[in-house]
Symmetry: C2
Subunit: 239 residues, 2 copies
């Protein structure tokens, strides 16, 4: 049996007890068939990951004893992912993969050619929690409110680089574009790409650098995963 990991939405500390909500209690005792005395790992997105033991189970709730701090809280490198929502499954996929690949913040952006489905922030958050539990992060990425492309550029924090994925082949490859470990963000357009006007705005922005991922046309979700992986390998915590 693999070790269960749960994100707990309350502060954890050693020698305390916590009561799980109904959903997590159900998951632990009914779905995963765990019993009093079984252990699991919990993290609180603020102090770290703890070894816990199931102390009580009843119909709708579970009490855990927090035994030991296993890993202290720490943040991944300071990279964000900004993406234009695509079809539901692919959007889920992007949020899940961005979490596994260690982004600190996920920002949905509406561009000219975005097939504007309603952005469900709660759904995104649930995806980040599930992925963080699975990939052993001790933190959760932040999910930002959806923003318009215009406002994204207008409100951009100038101390952060913005790498936009450019399908026009006019930009640099990752090895040349990802030049240092500065705070940054990767921006992936929708299936239809950026509009010419958007590309022009990006080219003019002093904080923005284009990145071209070869001459095969990648789907948006492939490009997102590929760019984040390249950045982690070249400048992030895979070095």
């Amino acid at each position: 049996m693999g070790q269960i990991r749960l994100y707990i939405a309350q502060p954890l500390s050693v020698n305390n007890a916590i009561e799980l909500d109904e959903k997590q209690s159900h998951y632990l005792t009914h779905v995963m068939k765990r019993q009093v005395g079984d252990s699991l790992l919990c993290f609180d997105n603020q102090s770290g990951e703890y070894l816990c033991e199931i102390a009580e189970t009843s119909k709708k709730h579970c009490v855990l004893h927090i035994l030991k701090l296993q890993r202290s809280y720490c943040l991944p490198p300071d990279i964000w992912l900004i993406f234009a929502p695509v079809k539901k499954d692919n959007t889920d996929f992007i949020v899940q993969k961005a979490t596994e690949l260690g982004v600190r913040k996920i920002i949905p952006v509406l561009t000219r050619y975005t097939i504007s489905e309603r952005v469900k922030k709660e759904r995104f958050i649930a995806q980040t929690i599930e992925a963080a539990e699975q990939c052993r992060r001790v933190d959760l990425p932040e999910v930002a409110e959806v923003i318009d492309f215009e406002n994204l550029l207008k409100c951009w924090p100038t101390d952060r680089k913005l790498y936009y994925l450019d399908e026009t082949l006019n930009s640099k490859p990752p090895l040349q574009a990802f030049i240092n470990e500065d705070k940054c963000a990767v921006l992936v357009g929708p299936e239809g790409g950026f509009s010419l006007q958007e590309l022009e705005q990006l080219r003019k922005a002093p904080f923005a650098t284009g990145v071209t991922l070869g001459n095969r046309i990648l789907r948006a979700e492939t490009a997102a995963v590929a760019a984040l992986a390249c950045w982690q390998a070249l400048r992030g915590d895979w070095k």
Copy 2:
């Protein structure tokens, strides 16, 4: 309307005509609503990509005139992907993404912890065709027969490097592991990872090098995409 691209399973050459099969004819005229006189791109996985024009349509077939060679046939860098089949959707995903990321060959492997679902080669091939059409490859990756882990190592071509993804954190990161542009393959284990015995065999194999993608645990499909992207950026055709 975006340009349609089709893989045609017969040799193409300028000034010739070809008759599409029923499925492709249906797709072109009924799904995509194309008519006589409309143009599209076709590639044959042997001579290149051609601009074609619809010359005739009838109930169940379509005739195309081949007007012009647009791009000559060429192969992507010589990298293979070897992966342990996972759940259906994730397997589809891996095959699709490997095609977008330019692998020459896709090999399903059965390892100790592979959740051994039946490997459907025809389904894999259909996925490679769809992905190649979409990402503008002029070739198709080869889909190999499924092979046992033991036989994979036993029959390994010794002039080809084998990079296996190692979750034990005992291997090098991509920047150090992917040292040159030689012929190579990326091997991704199943969700349960490689067995200790398999890892031992890999460590002993002179052609094999472990690669560790950071300390977050990546799902098999994420690891496959990430490793291929890193190799293309560092040593492949994204340089």
